[in-house]
């Protein structure tokens, strides 16, 4: 391993500007003449828009659906059979379908004055019955979010198998209902848009806090009816994405349209209230699930029905189906099953449209299945880890095509479980439980395992048939006349550390010092097209593209170097940033300078292609890399107050070859914090009339530094057989397993008093109520 190439835990290049407050986010960009936008948003969840009264004195500063009649609605279709499309008007027309939906755009010199205009507009809405619960929305005769559908189901997905022969052999079965809460993704920086019309270039320039600048450009082109060449999208520094910024926003379209119409720049910055009331948009799953096991604890079959609350519209580009449809394909988890049956529903409700949050679908799936593994173990009175050892896919089976045809590329799942058991010291926890706690609390330990499919590509997404299907990822690599290296990628880095890790990849190939390599990203004018950063794909895809582009640069540099050294190309090699031959060596900087500024020193037959390369990359298989991990939590719970303390947390993950293990640790710990939020804190409650019950962070609780334990991370390394350097995507994994591990630990702690929780987040109130219900129940086993 080189000290700066693949595998080196070098400090992040980008942190110098972030830590000094020198990043440049949308809110930092000042353009002369900018006016500000505030949106009038629907105060009700469902109703017919009847009338908007706009005071005459501000009529010219207010824009409603009629003004934007030429703008096409947002439409994110899927070709999955039976998928029902929704048209999301950029500004509501006819009907509003969730609280916070945009009704009018108000423009003023300051945001405060724009909000004054919002307050001055009167809007009449004839309220309709509200669908605030996805199960009620599935029922026949329910009010309709989209009348033309006839029901409220975006998509039903099935995996069918006759389970009867397996059920006949099963020694045990357990059935549970499991529910995860609707969450609001909470990046430090909210969304934000600054749009202007460049009259010189006749080009719309949109600065936006996005993970997918090129996809936003395509979406703007489609909705506004403007060719791509006249749109430039810039994603500057972005303060966290997590999927919250993997979307074409109605706000982006509004500001783009108005910037063209009004001729001056317009800025809108989402505030936290808008974030909470208008965009709580993820994670809400409901499962009814039965698992069957043999007497040894081997998991035989799963029979499940899952419902996902997809909200009112299908978001562009990921659509309303991605989460529910993925549930079917990934619910079997890390286990080798004989039988599987699953049906999922993506249901429309009067809530904000669902977006894929970090660990898309996997967080809910892992929670459902791993809670069931522990429930089966309790039923059989064996260690939950024993069920896992009995049921895991073994290393000797790799690569393994599972029951839903997922192709698990590599790994040793049982080994990650063994290492976690040893590190957390399961035996000592069991002894401690036997001794009891002096303070009356109860100790519990819980495990959870998952795989994280990353960088899944064309064949996978072609099946979903959503508006974008990723193909080859590209990088443009350019040597500058002073020997520096510019890397241009279409993906975006907003916390992942790509400015560092992609420089490490280039260093691995070319030997150029990291400080002489610059990553250029987030600007459609100067980077290759890309679907952006999502799905744990950038290290695999952009990393592969950087390596391919650098490979070609290396070949060209060697030819020029050989030319200058007057020897055949076979007689030179690239080492330590120089072309070396028998007769001497030439630094890359000298080769660059010669190519650009002193070409007279090269023979006439020198390669004309130069020192700028665009190369594309795809792994040998595009079915995805499969990182995996085992998480284990030790908790103490107070049965009287429901208070929970995380005493210990251990993670053993395998992300293949890690380009920068320190950055991977950061990704895992950040994910863990989000997973703790899912497990214990985050819940957007909706009233029956569809009103979000939190509008500030004092009602929507997020974990803070005091709630996140100092986790121990163990790295296993099974290189991917299909990717450059053997890397695997690891960006999402940290948040997938904590809800299951922590809930399993709580259930382990409370097992002796007959309490089992299966509704997330596991709040003190839920614990207290479950404890009371268990003590009242003659059965002694209660699911809340």
């Amino acid at each position: 391993m080189s000290t700066h190439g693949v595998g080196a835990s070098v400090l992040r290049k980008e942190d110098d500007r972030y830590l000094r407050g020198r990043g440049e986010f949308v809110g930092d960009i000042q353009l002369a003449g900018t006016r500000h936008v505030a949106f009038l948003r629907s105060p009700v969840a469902h109703g017919y828009l009847r009338n908007a009264s706009i005071p005459n004195e501000c009529r010219q500063q207010v824009f409603v659906a009629d003004d934007l009649a030429a703008v096409a609605p947002i439409r994110a279709h899927s070709t999955l059979p039976g998928f029902k499309s929704s048209d999301q008007p950029v500004l509501a027309s006819g009907k509003v379908r969730h609280v916070g939906e945009l009704i009018a755009m108000c423009v003023a010199d300051t945001r405060a004055e724009a909000e004054d205009i919002v307050d001055a507009i009167g809007v009449e809405i004839e309220e309709l019955p509200v669908l605030s619960d996805m199960l009620a929305a599935r029922e026949a005769g329910a009010p309709l979010v989209h009348e033309e559908w006839g029901d409220n189901v975006f998509l039903t997905t099935d995996f069918e198998q006759d389970l009867d022969p397996i059920i006949a052999r099963a020694a045990a079965s357990v059935t549970r209902t499991i529910r995860t809460a609707r969450q609001s993704m909470s990046p430090l920086e909210g969304r934000g848009v600054l749009a202007r019309w460049d009259s010189r270039l006749e080009q719309l320039v949109v600065y936006t806090s996005t993970q997918q600048p090129h996809i936003v450009r395509t979406g703007l082109s489609e909705c506004l009816g403007i060719e791509h060449a006249r749109i430039r999208v810039v994603a500057p520094d972005v303060g966290g994405g997590f999927g919250y910024k993997g979307i074409l926003l109605p706000e982006e379209i509004c500001l783009a349209w108005a910037a063209i119409k009004l001729g001056h720049p317009l800025k809108w910055l989402e505030d936290r209230r808008e974030n909470l009331i208008a965009s709580s948009n993820c994670r809400e799953h409901h499962y009814t699930i039965t698992v069957y096991g043999d007497a040894n604890g081997k998991l035989l079959a799963i029979d499940a029905e899952a419902t996902v609350d997809a909200g009112a519209y299908s978001s562009y580009p990921f659509s309303a189906c991605l989460e529910a449809a993925q549930v079917v394909s990934i619910l079997p988890g890390v286990y080798d099953l004989e039988g599987y049956r699953c049906r999922t529903y993506a249901v429309a409700t009067n809530k904000p449209p669902i977006l894929p949050y970090r660990g898309v679908a996997r967080c809910g799936v892992c929670t459902a299945l791993e809670l069931m593994v522990d429930a089966l173990a309790r039923e059989l009175a064996i260690e939950p880890t024993e069920v896992r050892f009995q049921s895991l896919i073994g290393p000797e089976q790799m690569p393994f095509n599972n029951i839903t045809s997922k192709h698990f590329d590599s790994g040793d799942y049982p080994e990650s479980l063994r290492q976690v058991i040893d590190t957390i010291d399961l035996d000592s926890i069991r002894s401690r439980q036997q001794r009891g706690e002096a303070d009356g609390r109860r100790i519990g330990i819980g495990f959870a395992m998952y795989t994280e499919q990353g960088a899944h590509g064309t064949t996978v997404y072609a099946n979903w048939g959503i508006p974008m299907v990723p193909g080859h990822e590209q990088c443009t690599a350019r040597l500058t006349p002073d020997g520096g290296l510019e890397l241009r990628i279409g993906a975006h880095s907003h916390g992942q550390g790509l400015e560092t890790t992609l420089a490490q990849v280039a260093h691995e190939v070319l030997g150029i010092p990291l400080e002489q390599t610059r990553l250029i990203h987030g600007d459609t004018a100067i980077t290759p097209y890309s679907t952006g950063t999502w799905g744990s794909r950038s290290m695999v895809m952009s990393g592969g593209a950087v390596a391919c582009a650098c490979d070609e640069l290396a070949r060209r540099v060697l030819r020029i170097g050989a030319n200058l050294l007057q020897c055949p190309v076979e007689a030179v090699r690239l080492k330590d940033g120089a072309v070396q031959g028998a007769a001497g060596s030439i630094q890359l900087a000298e080769i660059s300078r010669t190519w650009y500024l002193k070409p007279q020193e090269l023979d006439t037959e020198a390669d004309p292609a130069g020192l700028e390369v665009t190369a594309g990359y795809k792994p040998e298989r595009d079915s995805g890399t499969f990182s995996y991990a085992t998480h284990a939590a030790v908790i103490a719970v107070d049965p009287l107050t429901g208070e929970i303390e995380l005493l210990d947390y251990v993670i053993a993950e395998d992300g293949g070859v890690l380009v920068n293990p320190m950055i991977v640790d950061g990704q895992i710990l950040g994910g863990l914090a989000q997973g703790i939020g899912t497990a214990l804190f985050e819940e957007m409650v909706y009233s029956t009339d569809g009103q979000p019950q939190a509008s500030t962070l004092s009602e929507y609780l997020l974990p803070g530094p005091t709630e996140v334990p100092d986790a121990q991370i163990i790295h296993l390394e099974t290189p991917s057989p299909y990717t450059r350097f053997g890397v695997k995507g690891i960006g999402e994994g940290g948040c997938i397993a904590p809800p299951a591990a922590i809930t399993n630990a709580i259930n382990d702690a409370l097992r002796a008093i007959g309490v089992e929780l299966s509704v997330l987040p596991v709040t003190p109130r839920r614990i207290v109520e479950a404890v009371a219900a268990a003590s009242d129940s003659s059965l002694g086993k209660v699911t809340t």
Binding site: T110, D119, T641, F681, S695, L701, G704, P764, A772
Partner: protein
């Protein structure tokens, strides 16, 4: 969210502040802004005028006599936490102050602002109730002194009138054998409390006040007789859970198992806190 357009005046004296407050029909006092700031931004309040009283010297004073300590309304939580003011005894105020919100909140938030806001989950509301503190209220006709029990009338409600402001809080010096305890249960540090208990047991002054806070309304002063408490009896290390539970349940307007459980627990923790601190 941005506030509505409003005027801002920085008062130099209590009299000037009172004059400003009476001149505008929709004036609000800025005494730290840790609640008012968010309320302004959310437009939950839409004042014409904000009167900033934090630069008035009189309101950041601390007067210590042999029997009382009076703390100006605009003394910050952080000043108390950092022990920059006289101790009542048992280091009580500093121990409470250190647990209020986050340090950034404590730097700007003030004692007077907190008690004027009268949020049941605010630490000082329960703490002052246990201390039997007096609120000094300044108005056009001079100063009146109101006992905390009379000052608070409900959640977010006090007897403070138009054109009045809190001048300071007067608290008794505690006796040599005092025991003070304070505990709260909240979802995470810095969050609003789900339950609070504050205890001042001061035999020298014939005082025993045990308060449960973070209720839906006023802090609940427990009935000493019903629970076998009082200045003449030693403060117990634990309370018999049964009677305490019944007592708290009796005073709970709407039955709520979780609230009842955390109130019971927090009371025992405040007792433990009172005994943990060296007397």
């Amino acid at each position: 969210m941005k506030p509505v357009d409003f005027d801002y005046e920085q008062a130099k004296s209590v009299d000037e502040a009172i004059t400003l407050l009476t001149q505008s029909a929709d004036a609000l006092i800025l005494a730290g802004g840790q609640t008012l700031g968010p309320m302004l931004n959310l437009r939950l309040v839409q004042p014409e005028l904000l009167v900033d009283i934090t630069r008035i010297d009189e309101l950041v004073r601390v007067e210590a006599s042999t029997t009382h300590v009076t703390i100006g309304a605009c003394v910050s939580h952080a000043a108390v936490e950092d022990r920059r003011i006289a101790d009542l005894g048992h280091d009580f105020l500093a121990r409470v102050a250190g647990g209020i919100g986050y340090r950034a909140v404590r730097n700007r938030g003030t004692l007077g602002g907190s008690v004027a806001n009268a949020d049941p989950a605010a630490d000082w509301v329960s703490c002052f109730a246990a201390l039997d503190a007096e609120i000094l209220v300044s108005g056009q006709s001079g100063q009146r002194i109101v006992k905390i029990d009379d000052f608070l009338v409900g959640a977010m409600e006090t007897t403070i009138g138009t054109g009045e402001l809190i001048n300071g809080i007067r608290m008794p010096r505690l006796g040599a054998s005092v025991r003070c305890g304070y505990a709260k249960i909240s979802r995470k540090p810095g969050e609003f409390a789900d339950a609070i208990a504050a205890i001042v047991h001061d035999p020298d002054r014939g005082c025993c006040r045990v308060v449960v806070g973070a209720t839906d309304g006023l802090p609940l002063l427990l009935d000493n007789d019903a629970l076998g408490l009082g200045p003449a009896v030693a403060l117990p290390a634990v309370l018999d859970p049964g009677p305490v539970r019944d007592h708290l349940a009796w005073h709970m307007p709407v039955p709520d198992l979780y609230r009842l459980n955390v109130q019971c627990a927090v009371l025992q923790r405040a007792l433990a806190d009172a005994h943990a601190f060296p007397s």
